[in-house]
Symmetry: C4
């Protein structure tokens, strides 16, 4: 497993031409497609799960979906399905910047495709009541909605960004430690990444709607046209990614990835 | 583990007669019986779990049941318990076609046996209110039922087939990557397969009733006589199996199973 | 891991006297104490969890408790915490009959100790409303109880025994395959055992109260004096243990434990 | 994995000066920082999760959070995030006493930081209704609170301490067996530790509020000023830690850590 994981990082130079061509396929095309199809399926599941009208059900649908997609694709693409996480992984040197850009495009396109399928299968009023599964800021000031059975806390868009950033930092730190770090990664890594999303959604749902993933928020915003406080879902996760990446590089990383006190 | 998994795929030719006889027992009789008893127990659990009248409970009962049965039998039969998944596995070359046919018979018979036991233990009105645990299409047009506390979305049988197909594609792709693929399979594979069913039921329950398994739908339909929109549960999963199988063969598979850009 | 598991089965004869004494300690005293303390903690948790008045919460409390206790003690005692499972394991030759008897005593005593602690901490009416956490048959004929918010199905004590037997058979078969069988056991074994209990409680709670464990039912019956239909919780699990043990010996077992078509 | 775990226990003497300096960094600074940031994130999640007003959601948020943080940091700091567990680990010789003191300071400071962030993001009345996420004793005698939808049992502060002690003993015993013990530890150890917290919260919430962690209780008590029956959350877990540590040293430990009948 550790061997395959290193293949999309850096490869030995003595490989012949044919093998290089094949590895390029696996390194760029297969991995980018995995991120595309994975994010599309995840966004479809996440938006449809809003129809359960129950926070615990939404948390399990989204979190377990990330856990199993990451278990399926961790050795193929790293199993991110989240552009902010790909950014954090690039900061830590786990993927190269070109791949991070390819992943960004694949993830945002995938999310739009997944969310569009939701519009195709849930018709008329039902789709509008769910707002297409878009994440919604849950502060006290939002207009009254008779179909919305969730309660609201006294929060502002700024505190929602802070909550998204802290919980994203939790998710990304767990991903980096449990899936990339040489000293602490293990076979439970993909489960830990998915469980982190469950935890973050239960805790943060009544504040920000619980996204922690710009692609998952951007995807349904396009077909549903629901863009209220949309900047929360970009600012929060990217700040969290920056903090977790820096923390990893300075203190928590293994002897090779850490920038100070190296082996 | 990887060794045992290959045993029901292809075997070395230099084995003597006795060993062949034994391996035939394990390859065909033991594995087919495992699919039979596993699907019977799964269908019994799935139909009885409808008595909880709670989507999250149903999702956990069915999904965890698949996870643990697959963990128990993955090295014996592959742990499918789903004819559409056996079809996808046959497309990908993970099991041979004869075994896929044997599994189909074992799974559908097992599901009928499991569902018949539900009729034997839940008596009178209780059984009819639950419709024997059969999957029910949940669109707006279905007749009003005072015992049904679930809400309904604006969907049609056609969109229900699309939802079944997409979520089946998620489940089967996860199974293929996490349990069969040489590059990405791991000890978490059976858990990933079961978690995929939890995720799919939470997301799809209010659309199609959340089957993703023709045997699980066919089983209770026989003793309960509830056949409304039954074709959804055959068309959806088989389309999903075809898509996930083709996607695996073209792009996502490892160097040997992939048909293009092979090693 | 596989090595330690074999230690409580059979040991090589060439060990010297001192090592024998030590191994006797680990083989009999440490393992029996682990079953005692594990069953005591499990019964305490199971009886207290009834105060949640929610089937899904009860299922997760009991099932995850078995999963983690089994993960902690699987290499020490096998991690049964259930006399019917110890009986099934003895049928399959996984533990010797003397150990099965010692485990039976430890498990029933442990359950009584755990249940007595519940009586010590939950006072007065609260304890009597919960019936001390005892399992209750949930058929239509039981007397009306205003504090009982669970619904009731049309079942009889006989069908409750059948449900207990079938679901116990599921739990024990999963334990045998995932923790004992040479071909299919894995590191996920303890989780699979615990998840089986979650699944069984969700499915069977509205029929029999969901025990599948004579010790867990016997424990609280003693301090609370609630013995209604108590025979269900002995007949069901032991029939299930017999069926799963015979099925394992005849068809599902590995080449050495299987009685027919051996290697 | 077993190698890295031993590194924070005892090290070979033949290492040169440079390596010692590096290992000191990893042994003391990295591990203590991991406990600090982990406890801060855990306390933030735990306090925010109270806004779900649902015991099962709170149990999953706290328990899964410990599971994933432990999975991420088990090879770096041991993944305790609980001063009472660090005390039990010190009793069993898994960490040295100096580290236990450093961890105590890091954990209590981390918990205060995490809880203070909750005060920063949940404003005005919402924060006071949640009492900042502090653990609350749930006996019958507590003053009526119209916002509190949980039911109450007939318990006293003394029985609440007993419940905290028994369930803490369960959690810590599972941690010691599944993460430290040479004979029974496994890759499922961090999951087992987290699942134990889920189980304990479901069972104990209606008695003591379900802490089992002095840091998690102390953290929010400081910014919210809610100190009612606060001693429960120190007395209970430390008694549980003492019992589980002694039990491990006397009977359940492996041949080297056990004080009697050693190898």
């Amino acid at each position: 497993m550790s061997l395959s994981r290193d293949t999309f990082g850096n490869r030995a130079k003595e490989q012949d031409e044919l093998e290089k061509k094949l590895s390029s396929f696996e390194k760029y095309i297969q991995s980018t497609f995995a991120e595309f199809i994975g994010t599309a399926l995840f966004t479809f599941v996440a938006c449809l799960a809003v129809s359960s009208r129950d926070v615990l059900s939404i948390a399990f649908a989204e979190g377990l979906c990330i856990a199993l997609l990451c278990a399926a694709f961790v050795n193929i693409s790293g199993g991110h399905f989240n552009p902010a996480l790909s950014f954090a992984a690039a900061i830590c040197g786990a993927i190269n910047p070109i791949l991070a850009v390819l992943y960004f495009v694949a993830q945002t396109c995938g999310a739009m495709v997944g969310a569009s399928f939701v519009k195709a299968v849930i018709l008329g009023d039902s789709y509008h009541i769910l707002k297409g599964g878009a994440n919604q800021f849950r502060g006290l000031g939002v207009p009254y909605d008779p179909y919305d059975s969730f309660h609201h806390l006294n929060v502002t868009p700024v505190t929602a960004i802070v909550v998204e950033a802290i919980l994203s930092c939790l998710i990304f730190t767990v991903y980096l430690q449990a899936n990339i770090d040489k000293k602490s990664r293990s076979s439970m890594g993909p489960m830990a990444y998915g469980f982190a999303l469950i935890v973050a959604i239960i805790s943060g749902f009544h504040v920000s709607g619980g996204s922690f993933n710009p692609a998952r928020s951007f995807g349904p915003a396009v077909p549903s046209g629901y863009w209220d406080q949309h900047y929360i879902y970009w600012a929060g996760p990217y700040v969290g990614a920056l903090v977790s990446g820096v923390m990893y590089r300075l203190i928590l990383g293994d002897g090779k990835k850490r920038l100070i006190m190296r082996d």
